[in-house]
Subunit: 349 residues, 2 copies
Amino acid sequence: MTVTLADVAARAQVSPATVSRVLNGNYPVAASTRERVLRAVDELDYVLNGPASALAAATSDLVGILVNDIADPFFGIMAGAIQSEIGGPGGRAGGERLAVVCNTGGSPERELTYLTLLQRQRAAAVILTGGAIENEAHVSAVAAKLRKLADAGTRVVLCGRPPAPADTDAVALTFDNRGGGRRLTEHLIGLGHRRLGYIAGPEERTTTRHRLEGHRAALAAHGIEDDPRRTVHGRYDRRSGYEATLELLRREPDLTAIVAANDTVALGACAALRDSGLRIPGDVSVAGFDDLPFSIDAVPALTTVRLPLAEAGARAGRIAMSREEPPPGGIATVGGELMVRGSTGAPRP
Amino acid sequence: MTVTLADVAARAQVSPATVSRVLNGNYPVAASTRERVLRAVDELDYVLNGPASALAAATSDLVGILVNDIADPFFGIMAGAIQSEIGGPGGRAGGERLAVVCNTGGSPERELTYLTLLQRQRAAAVILTGGAIENEAHVSAVAAKLRKLADAGTRVVLCGRPPAPADTDAVALTFDNRGGGRRLTEHLIGLGHRRLGYIAGPEERTTTRHRLEGHRAALAAHGIEDDPRRTVHGRYDRRSGYEATLELLRREPDLTAIVAANDTVALGACAALRDSGLRIPGDVSVAGFDDLPFSIDAVPALTTVRLPLAEAGARAGRIAMSREEPPPGGIATVGGELMVRGSTGAPRP
DNA sequence: AGCACCGCAGCAAGCGCTTTCTATCCGGAA
DNA sequence: TTCCGGATAGAAAGCGCTTGCTGCGGTGCT
């Protein structure tokens, strides 16, 4: 029914071994033979059996990419960049790699499940993107998995994630969330703000914690008391930003600035502010994080911290494919750039 | 080195066959035996070898999802919904399916390449999302591939795509782009607009053509001449919307409304209008398409056509997993809902 | 008491490919 | 002319798993 290597071999009048070698191009085959084989492949419309090949060669050409939310451009941009780098040449049979994008939805269980599934597929590489969950049991479970993957020859790269334990052999490209958060808040303080609300992401996530720490560091550095009532936790989505803003306003109506965990949350905050009859930045300044494409289209355009998502993703992809040297020590920090735009201004006097 | 089925069998004192059956749960195994095997699996930390299993069983648990642009929430939302449906129960070994999200970038070649790669992996199902490319050679090449996939037992579902030739056996969930486009433009006409600009997507794509046809049908139905100078083609991104708007304004400064190919393009159009000193909708009304999450946060909020992306994706996923009956005839049309918001209003008199 | 059967476990034959090792053919060196 | 080595091609042994078929006790029936 389906065409196999043997069929091609028969038609080209060579042995299956030769066909395999032509297809993998890693063994000398006479040009004339090669051509004959290629013609047979073409005529028969032969497609290699991936699983069989993976089994025999003990490697596959799948690359796993774990993301927290595939509908979020933050991850989409990274995933796209990674994928564009892993497809290229540099491997077996045409060098085609298949990216497996796994949507964990932020759930620790699913993260682990996907890691197992990838291990089961004998993935060539695995790239974990976005913040990690901070839960001792889970962190060590993930570390154990990563170690196992590495043992099985799977290259592991973290993109936008804090480093894993060194013995996992995982390369980490970390975003400087702390530094970005700090610069952002300092920008606001420089503008004269003293009463700033902060809408944080979900607790137990490194990204959330680091950005918040940066914010607090800025406050502390300028002698501003950090009233815990000015911080609200929520999800990384618009709705959450909307509700958190209302809550913040209820608690402290005379806030002059709101810093959001990310751009999406900031957008929700803007909506809540507008619905409350407040002007941006006239009454309240708003700042986001990430600089997703839509942020510049907000009205007013969002002041935020630009993270080089695509660049980081591309680099992670290259490292995963061994087409670029890992950074020394296996860890590199990727900085963010403060983008000052219309949504922040001096507070009303 | 790595643990195999045989190791588990040895430890549980049963034959490999029994272990396999316990793991696949499709053959009667005595409870006590099952338990013993499961314990061994656990103690040995055994992970099934996917490729080997796929080879022997002639099926894999990979599901391919083709998208045009993974960084675009339009696709991200569908992909996420699909993935949440295919992970569930209903299959072998824990029912875990691995979603392979492939980013074609809108390139015909890559689309074909990915289809081949998926065929090579013997994917359990393949779901193609978004509009198709309208190029005779490519369409028939894709149809041929789909046919081959179907022959190999891969279920094929199109989500948000026009139906493929009937002999491909592909189930299609099509968006009513034409109807949505028509209603959107009729809304504008109803408001009193007579000079409407249209920013279309890339040529040779079904989505582009259908939306444009709907627009034109509305114009025709109301006796409005369709001046070709009022239509500009571009990509489905913000930048393109920005530039196209400037071009439209140059050609015809007194347009009173601009209909964009999608929300992202509409956002770019809004930015261009603002930069040109025009008010929305005071001077020019703007409408989008899709109703992506950020559209409601635009200022003013975008009038658009809401496409039930998540619902359609979920349904496609279920159909692909045979957990839902395909629609009669294998084709279903999914309608869009007109969302009238602040970006459209009556034209200045 | 004898027989058919059922429930459960094992045997063994692959699934389609890769790869080591071996065989062959050839040109040129001796 | 004989012999040796390089360049190619083939034979065959798996890779780790699934599954059709066989085998073996024990239950229920007559």
